[in-house]
């Protein structure tokens, strides 16, 4: 297995682990913006992450007992 393929596999596994935590994938979001909303500005990684974290704890069911 080539190094590039291994790296890609690892990145996918890491993105999946983050999604289990409830942290959306930055790269996927950027790809989404480029595809559907090319006119919108692309947030930086840290801005994206900070905004998502704030939204996450804003309400909803939260964690279970």
């Amino acid at each position: 297995m080539s190094a590039i393929r291994l790296r890609r596999l690892w990145q996918r596994a890491a993105a999946n682990a983050r999604r289990v935590l409830g942290v959306p994938d930055y790269d996927a979001y950027v790809a989404h913006l480029r595809l559907y909303h090319p006119e919108r500005a692309i947030p930086t990684r840290s801005a994206f992450f900070a905004e998502r974290e704030a939204v996450r704890y804003r309400g909803g069911g939260g964690r279970c007992c």
């Binding site: 890491a14 999946n16 682990a17 983050r18 999604r19 289990v20 935590l21 409830g22 942290v23 959306p24 930055y26 996927a28 979001y29 790809a31 989404h32 913006l33 990684r45 840290s46 994206f48 992450f49 900070a50 998502r52 974290e53 704030a54 939204v55 996450r56 704890y57 804003r58 309400g59 909803g60 069911g61 939260g62 964690r63 279970c64 007992c65």
Partner: protein
């Protein structure tokens, strides 16, 4: 299905039936945990393959060609079509908490059999059905929340009833869970040290994530995990020094006050600093430890030393009072059926599901795994010597405060344990005492240590594993407390905003602080009541929590009934109606007894009367130490009784609203459900 496959399922069914037979009929000294695992796994596979599929195909009619909210509203943020295995993991991480670990441990006082049967039957026919159905109905309704669906399908009044119910459960859950932590940490400097260390570790992680490597959640969690393990490992050495030990030794009252202050701070500080990093850390620890415990049980196959049934099925048990019906069914809430899950199944999860067919794995499957966690907790409790179990879980009012008084009280219940064995049991795990550590967490930790030291480290590691298990439970309970306080604050602001719109502004510091104080005050009140309660708090408060959680399940399943009738699927109504009726019966019966029973061990009002009668005679009832303390006990009893009565009213009101909605829906000849219109999935998917 071809013949070989049919035969395979038949064999699995036979294995399940035989295992259950062994568990039910075995009357020897011990029985092996293998039978419990075999019964659980074979029943779960059969339930998932047949009953869940029946619900998917016939009852709900899952449609793989229909676009889900994640597809229709894909925004790369909240709505993201996601692989079903990831949604499953996400959903499981959100539903699994301390509940399925604590309830089964408490219920073990009646023996391992009643708890096992209720978890198995409850999850298959009630818990997993609820999660699955609510997830599905939310998928069909644009990912709407439970409250919004109740408003739309049953009516606005029912919506307000549900909202108040959820808020009340929240306060009780947070108070009880915080009490579990306090009981685990009281007079335990090693435990307190490791849990205290999670705060600087989380702050460090938060700063790292914010300023050094934004978004690198995994690497920061790995760093946090290593630091945590170091804290557990060195905690024992740190507190071996008496000066350090005294710095981390507190009684229940001071720990409770610290936790209340901490809960306040954690929910007003920016989330990135403390709350979020702890959440990441606790999620990993949770999934990892559950897997570790499963491996430990499977590899060591321990013997269960708790009998199948104990004499306490009659309701005289020291851990919680009340007979098997209805109290077993509210003591084990999470693990068998948990109303809280309906909030999560209609929260973030439906926004991720890429295809309706995935709802069976995510909704039904994840709940089966949670029930498996509950079975593991039951195993861990049943592995203990019953004498040790009762010493740890009975309140001081029942067993006194010395090993001698405890051993003789436990002997009167028919379990043999020597005072020396109790001292030794504490020493083994690096603690000074194991008496009256009610709340499930310490018992589970001892059981886990007994199992895990056999696969990692041997006898010398018992103390490490015990404190690791305490840390694991405390960490995710505290995460629930932090996040719950924040969610509770937003809910208060929303409710108060109905009256005074200014309170709704979440960016206003005055409104924020006021709502947070109110929220912390409410759960803090229960917590403080718990630590000062002579019955040990858990004995009093856990049943209230159970009633509340099962009440929410009854409300959610009533919604499911209404949705089925509105969709003209009345022939399958029983799938939701039978568990809804059972939960309504259990909550109402338990609520009634908690309020009106003449037995002061069960009924709040009878207990209050006993205390006020003694007060009138100027008499102290041990272990209360002053008349003031007794007045507080009587006051708490009255509040608890009012709460139990309120829960009963909420259940009755929701069912009445639900029946009315069903009657009017049944009259209409066409379906009346508020589903979103059908949109086909694009060819080849998106």
């Amino acid at each position: 299905m071809n013949l070989a496959i049919k035969l395979g399922w038949l064999l699995l069914a036979l294995l399940g039936a035989c295992s259950l037979g062994v568990l039910a009929l075995h009357r020897g000294e011990t029985v092996n945990a293998f039978w419990l695992l075999a019964a659980t796994l074979s029943l779960f596979f059969i339930a998932y393959r047949f009953y869940a599929r029946f619900i998917a195909d016939r009852v709900l009619g899952l449609d793989s060609t229909r676009a889900t909210p994640a597809i229709l509203r894909d925004d790369g943020l909240d709505y993201v079509p996601t692989d079903r295995r990831i949604v499953f993991g996400h959903h499981f991480a959100a539903i699994a908490g301390a509940g399925p670990l604590v309830g089964p441990v408490l219920a073990a006082q009646m023996g391992y059999l009643p708890g096992t049967l209720w978890i198995l039957v409850g999850v298959i026919f009630a818990g997993a059905v609820q999660d699955f159905m609510i997830l599905f109905f939310s998928l069909r309704r644009d990912g709407r929340s439970l409250g919004e669906m109740i408003r739309a399908e049953i009516g606005p009044a029912a919506g307000i009833v549900a909202m108040i119910g959820v808020l009340m459960i929240m306060f009780i859950i947070l108070g009880v869970l915080a009490l579990v932590v306090v009981n685990a940490l009281a007079a335990s400097p090693w435990g307190t040290f490791t849990v205290a260390m999670t705060i600087p570790i989380a702050l460090l992680m938060g700063l790292y994530l914010r300023f050094l490597r934004p978004g690198r959640v995994l690497e920061v969690s790995a760093i946090g995990l290593v630091l945590l393990l170091l804290a557990v490992a060195f905690g024992g050495k740190v507190v071996a020094d008496p000066a350090w030990a005294s710095l981390f030794t507190y009684d229940g009252k001071s720990l409770a006050l610290m936790l209340i202050g901490y809960g306040f701070l954690a929910s007003v500080l920016p989330v990135w600093l403390l709350l979020a990093p702890r959440d990441y850390l606790s999620t990993f620890l949770k999934i990892g430890t559950v897997a570790l415990l499963a491996a430990g049980i499977v590899l060591t196959l321990p013997e269960l030393r708790m009998p199948a049934l104990t004499r306490f099925v009659d309701g005289s048990g020291p851990v919680f009072s009340g007979a098997l019906f209805p109290f077993l069914f509210i003591t084990i809430a999470c693990g068998a059926v948990s109303g809280w899950h309906s909030l999560i199944a209609s929260g973030t999860t439906p926004k991720l599901v890429a295809n309706e067919r995935d709802a069976r794995l995510v909704g039904y499957g994840a709940m089966l795994v949670e029930a498996f966690v509950a079975i593991m907790a039951l195993i861990a409790a049943a592995v203990l010597d019953p004498g040790v179990y009762f010493a740890m879980n009975a309140p001081a009012a029942a067993i006194g405060t010395t090993v001698e008084s405890a051993a003789s009280a436990i002997a009167r219940w028919g379990f043999v344990i020597t005072p020396d064995a109790l001292v030794q049991a504490a020493k083994e795990i690096g603690e000074t005492t194991i008496l009256s550590r009610a709340g499930g967490a310490p018992t589970l930790a001892v059981g886990m240590a007994k199992i895990l030291h056999r696969i990692g480290g041997g006898e010398g590691m018992l103390a490490f594993w015990y404190h690791y298990a305490i840390l694991f439970e405390a960490l995710f309970i505290l995460t629930t407390v932090d996040a719950g306080t924040r969610v509770g604050r937003f809910m208060i602001q929303e409710l108060a905003g109905l009256a005074v719109p200014a309170l709704r502004r979440t960016e206003s510091w005055t409104a924020n602080l006021a709502a947070t104080l109110l929220c912390v005050g409410c759960w803090g009140w229960f917590l403080y009541q718990g630590v000062t309660d002579p019955q040990g708090g858990i004995h009093t408060l856990w049943p209230l929590f159970g009633i509340a959680n099962q009440m929410l399940a009854a409300i959610a399943l009533t919604l499911a009934c209404v949705c089925l009738v509105r969709a003209k699927r009345t022939r399958y109504l029983w799938v939701a109606a039978v568990p809804a009726a059972w939960l309504a019966i259990c909550t109402l019966a338990a609520g009634w007894q908690k309020v009106f029973s003449d037995d002061p061990r069960v009924g709040f009002l009878a207990h209050a009367r006993r205390v006020t009668d003694a007060l009138a005679r100027n008499e102290l009832i041990a272990p209360a130490q002053s008349l003031d303390a007794m007045r507080a006990i009587a006051r708490n009893d009255v509040v608890d009784a009012a709460l139990a009565a309120a829960f009963m009213l909420l259940v009755v009101a929701t069912i009445a609203f639900g029946l009315r909605a069903m009657r009017s829906a049944a009259r209409s000849s066409a379906p009346t459900s508020r589903e979103m219109p059908y949109v086909a999935l694009a060819e080849g998917g998106s």
